[in-house]
């Protein structure tokens, strides 16, 4: 099972292992990771599951889609080049161990 390392805004880390095919947002929600609000439950509708993805692995995820791009322009914390909505990041062995930083605020 591929692993995700969640890095909170205070620097603390939590690692969870998930089934391939699970989104990073869903993994965060199911394990009660704080800081990923995911108001819309993962339908790319709300911009409250914003994360910063580890640069080295960022390109291995599917590219930013049009809706995601629009929503990333509305995030509560600054959009950086490695900003993604975690509902659009699907886990698999190709991104095993990916580190994602959770921004200070989602609302």
């Amino acid at each position: 099972m591929p692993k995700i390392v969640f890095v909170s805004s205070d620097g603390s880390e939590e690692t969870v292992a998930v089934d391939a095919g699970t989104s990073i947002m869903s993994a965060a929600q199911q394990h009660g990771i704080e800081g990923i609000v995911a108001d819309c439950g993962g339908s790319c509708s709300c911009a409250t599951c914003h994360v910063y993805v580890e640069q080295e692995l960022a390109d291995r995820f599917d590219p930013v889609g049009q809706f995601e791009d629009e929503l990333l322009d509305t995030t509560a914390c600054e959009r950086l080049c490695n900003s993604r909505l975690s509902c659009q990041l699907v886990m698999g062995d190709h991104v095993d161990g990916v580190r994602v930083e959770i921004p200070e605020s989602q609302m």
């Binding site: 929600q29 009660g32 108001d39 819309c40 439950g41 790319c44 911009a47 509305t74």
Partner: protein
């Protein structure tokens, strides 16, 4: 202290439990649901779950170990059948007794049933829970002709899903437009055109008088004009009614739903209600049931705060809703209401646009089609009570946040 018993283990019930622990509540929490599953999210049931894109595991809102880790006594497959307010005890169908200081009703809504002949045969389904969705998904695999009764959000999403799977789909809607009073006529017309453009046969102002069958299985539906439309799968999506039986039994104030104040309190301040079963005594100047994920979550958070004695901020969330149909993303912020200006932002013919409604210079309601950025900003502006420049708001080349007037006061 006996703690909290939460009746209903879906979006609102789960949120109440989670929020109580987040707020430092240390007494026992029992979260009792009548379905055999872990608490799960329902929106994908009419969309990705049917197509197989989303699995039942992915629907779970929390993994099983979360409940142990947070000392939440999750009781699944159990229905609460009796509650005694004087002794502060709830009892389940199997005889389990649960004592409480506070009770949270988060029992949701039940699908409205079609009061016509023939609905008890195979091939007729409604959709509320995971098991219903599994039955519909299985039925869709075999079906050729699908009839969807009801042109509301769930009916339209299921129709879009079935059409996307190549099925022949007919929607039968009793009123003159799709999605009732939840959207403006312009949005209803946009979605009507989109469904028809994809080959879906939409019958408005038409009702079903009978499900036609061969003795065991549905073969079609007879319409109010006498026509029989062939169907090997009939999906009933004609709305839902708040489950109020427990509240009525308790002697609480009930209208359409269980009446609650801004702190999610029923007429007994030790009994709270949240989500689809609840009815706001007053929201936007009217008493209303708001049936949405947003309301379930926000009202449950308020209920948890009330239980821990935090009465600082009553429910004040801006309602918002969404519905994904085909590749179209419909989102609404605020509630339909009177307005001074209606601003169309973007070209409706392009398939991506927003309609903004302004009253007293402030944005009060917004509908977006495949413009999620506009939607998120609209929610924020409505919540903040921002004054907007109507001309700028209507110019899609100007970011919506730049249409906010500097003189805004919150």
């Amino acid at each position: 202290m006996s703690g909290v018993v939460i009746v209903g283990a879906c979006q609102a019930g789960l949120q109440a439990a989670v929020s109580l622990r987040e707020l430092g509540y240390q007494e026992p929490i029992a979260l009792v649901g009548d379905e055999p599953h872990l608490p799960y999210q329902r929106p994908p049931l009419s969309k990705g779950f049917i197509t197989g894109q989303t699995t039942s595991e992915q629907l779970s809102l929390r993994v099983g170990s979360f409940f142990d880790d947070h000392d939440i006594d999750l009781v699944t497959g159990e229905r609460v059948t009796g509650i005694d307010r004087s002794t502060q005890r709830a009892v389940t169908a199997s005889g389990r007794e649960l004592a409480f200081d506070h009770l949270v009703l988060a029992v949701g809504a039940a699908p409205r049933t079609l009061g016509v002949r023939g609905t008890d045969v195979a091939g007729v389904h409604d959709l509320r829970g995971l098991d219903d969705a599994e039955a519909i998904a299985a039925g869709l695999k075999e079906a050729h002709d699908v009839v969807v009764l009801g042109g509301g959000f769930i009916g339209l999403e299921l129709a879009a899903t079935a059409a996307g799977l190549g099925r022949s789909v007919t929607i039968v809607e009793a009123t003159a437009g799709l999605m009732g009073r939840a959207v403006s006529p312009a949005i209803a017309a946009t979605f009507l055109a989109q469904h028809r453009a994809r080959g879906v046969d939409v019958r408005l102002g038409t009702s079903v008088v009978e499900v036609v069958h061969d003795g065991t299985r549905a073969t079609g539906v007879r319409l109010s004009d006498g026509e029989v439309v062939a169907a090997d799968l009939v999906i009933v999506g004609i709305g839902a009614s708040p489950r109020t039986e427990l509240a009525t039994g308790l002697g609480l104030d009930v209208a359409t739903g269980v009446l609650v104040d801004g702190f999610a309190r029923t007429s007994d301040c030790r009994v709270l209600a949240a989500g689809d079963c609840a009815q706001h005594r007053e929201i936007n100047g009217t008493s209303l049931c708001v049936t949405s994920v947003q309301n379930a979550i926000d009202q449950a958070v308020v209920a948890a705060r009330t239980i821990v004695g935090d009465l600082e901020s009553p429910y004040a969330a801006t309602p918002w809703f969404w519905s994904d149909q085909y590749d179209l993303k419909l989102q609404m912020a605020g509630l339909p209401q009177a307005y001074d200006h209606r601003v169309v932002r973007g070209d409706p013919a392009s398939g991506a646009f927003s309609i903004l409604y302004v009253r007293d210079d402030r944005l009060v309601w917004a509908e977006s089609v495949s413009k999620p950025g506009d939607h998120v900003l609209s929610r924020r502006l409505i919540t903040q009570g921002s004054a907007v420049d109507v001309a700028l708001a209507g110019d899609p080349s100007v970011p919506l946040r730049d249409a906010v007037l500097a003189t805004t006061t919150a």
